[in-house]
């Protein structure tokens, strides 16, 4: 019996190391294994034989781990896994690919700047097209990595070409507000185009959509880190070369745009290759900031409820509110993507609900003020875009609040809430695309 115990322990350790399987799963599997062995022993097999047959019936650990990973794809993002040889090889070849795509993006940005005669001139088309200089390379990078079939390559390419046509055919007025809005919304719309190759074309899969949400958060954090590092590097370079009389600023205006473009790809590569190696940052930051934001939002609601919104309300404040709501949405999404869906409500869920409900109240106030303003002064491109974004966020947060209430009351599953968010993602993409495509002609490109 001694030997069977050690065999089971060994088997257990092996299964525990497989990606996608966690400790509770192994408890459950071990219980199953022991049952099976006991039954086989009762049928006359020796303990050793019983163990062998039971393990065989359990199935190959690779296949098992794959099934578990498919069901719990979120775990792959969190688990500390020792890399196999195969994995290391892929990461190494990925490095070269990353450099190529990052360089290409950096070079294209420079070509565009040369064409625009930057930095002396900063024509608006340069800013308007910024997303188109970089994100096609990110899409291409993922299309190669995911080994997309030709049809999906074409779909992705068509989306970018259409975007380029729409953005550049429109005759914007000088100092056009719609052009600024397009410059702001195009990168968002294109980011969702990148989702297509990222998900390997399976955009209907809710699990893959959640993966894309995770990717977006991690990418953002890596990008900020790279930007900080780049800033320190540039600052130190300037400080060191200053005595020699070299004008670092003139170099910087060339290095920074290229660096910013290349970093988009490098950050994506970091997320891809570190995905399985380190604990993700986004969930940790979410844990840290959700309570703080909940307090801040609740206090703001209280303050505005007392003072009223009327006088304080202006255009800058609308952007601040929109940014705030986006942050709340981000916190909700990452809190969710990092959560084990099978556990019951925790205190974090309650805090999150406080944040969401406060944000909702704020959003309703902003909407009220905005509608009043539109009633007085009529629609402008900026007001329309802000109103639309607010409505899109309002519906999302209202749905999220309702479903988390039901979840906390034990009448709904977390799964519903996750579904709601992943189902809603295309609405954001559609709204961004609407601003890019329909808003400028609607307002005669003013």
């Amino acid at each position: 019996m001694e030997t069977v115990e050690s065999q089971i322990a060994e088997w257990r350790a092996y299964v525990e190391n497989a990606p996608g399987v966690n400790g509770h799963d192994v408890d459950e599997l071990e219980d199953h294994l022991r049952h099976q062995i006991a039954e086989l022993n009762a049928a006359g097999l020796s303990p050793d034989e019983g163990f062998l047959v039971a393990v065989k019936r359990m199935g190959a650990v690779d296949g098992l781990s794959r099934e578990f990973a498919r069901e719990h794809s979120g775990r792959l993002w969190k688990q500390l896994v020792l890399k196999g040889d195969h994995e290391a090889e892929r990461a190494a070849s990925g490095w070269f690919e990353t450099i190529i795509f990052a360089l290409a993006a950096a070079v294209v940005v420079q070509i565009a700047r040369l064409a625009a005669e930057a930095p002396d001139e900063e024509p608006t088309w340069l800013l308007r097209n910024a997303g188109l200089f970089v994100l096609p390379f990110l899409a291409g990078y993922f299309a190669r990595r995911r080994q997309l079939d030709p049809r999906r390559w074409v779909q992705t390419a068509v989306a970018f070409v259409l975007a380029a046509l729409v953005v550049n055919i429109y005759p914007y007025d000088a100092e056009s507000a719609t052009e600024t809005l397009v410059a702001l919304h195009l990168p968002v719309a294109l980011w969702f185009v990148v989702a297509h190759p990222y998900m390997g074309g399976t955009i209907r899969s809710h699990e893959r959509r959640m993966d894309f949400v995770r990717f977006t958060g991690e990418w953002f954090i890596y990008y900020v880190l790279i930007a900080l590092g780049g800033g320190v590097l540039m600052g130190l370079t300037a400080a060191i070369l200053e005595p020699t009389g070299v004008d670092v600023d003139r170099v910087a205006v060339w290095v920074v745009p290229s660096g910013a473009a290349g970093a988009v790809i490098v950050a994506a590569w970091l997320v891809e290759s570190k995905q399985r190696v380190v604990e993700n940052m986004a969930p940790v930051l979410t844990m840290l900031f959700t309570p703080l934001f909940a307090v801040m939002l609740a206090v703001s609601v209280g303050v505005y409820a007392v003072t009223g919104l009327g006088d304080a309300f202006d255009r800058d404040l609308v952007s601040v509110f929109d940014a705030l709501l986006l942050v709340v949405l981000g916190l909700v999404l990452y809190g969710m993507s990092a959560r084990d869906p099978s556990t019951s409500p925790e205190w974090m869920d309650r805090i999150q609900l406080v944040a969401v409900v406060s944000a909702l109240v704020l959003d309703v106030m902003v909407l009220g003020a905005m509608i009043a303003r539109i009633g007085d002064l009529g629609f402008t491109p900026n007001r329309t875009a802000a109103l639309g974004l607010n409505l899109v966020l309002l519906v999302n947060l209202a749905g999220a609040a309702w479903l988390s209430l039901r979840f906390l009351a034990g009448r709904s599953r977390l799964h519903r809430l996750e579904r709601w968010q992943t189902t809603y993602l295309p609405v954001f993409a559609l709204w961004a695309a609407t601003v890019v495509v329909f808003l400028p002609p609607l307002f005669a490109f003013e």
Binding site: G59, F68, R413
Partner: protein, 119 residues
């Protein structure tokens, strides 16, 4: 008799839900029941049952509970929910349609209808 892998996969969810509809159970017992029901013809890879059960849990078709008996190891029990019963009823309708269609086109042996009628 060898039963096609896809068919086994497709029948797994209704089978497990149907077993749980007769009362809560745990992994090993569910698998034993599947073997008994099919006379050993439905050969599952044991481990694959668990990702399936976890999926049912995520979809809200079952609830789970770890229980530690006075003696022995703790064990995870699965109990079907109302959503699970609804899903089972839906699955039954789908399978009934499929078997009806197959029965109509195949020479009447009678075996298929009785076998599935009982499940």
């Amino acid at each position: 008799m060898h039963i096609d892998k896809d068919l086994i996969a497709a029948s797994a969810t209704p089978l497990v839900l149907a077993i749980l509809a007769n009362g809560e159970s745990y992994g090993y017992a569910i698998l034993k029941r599947v073997r008994a029901l099919s006379g050993g013809e439905l050969e599952w890879t044991d481990g694959m049952l668990y990702p399936l059960l976890h999926r049912l849990d995520r979809l809200g078709y079952v609830t789970t509970e770890w229980r530690a008996p006075l003696q022995g190891r703790r064990r995870k029990y699965y109990e079907i929910t109302d959503d699970g019963r609804a899903a089972l009823a839906d699955q039954q309708r789908q399978w009934a349609t499929v078997t009806r269609a197959l029965n109509d086109i195949w020479p009447r042996s009678g075996g298929l209808r009785t076998a599935l009628g009982e499940a």
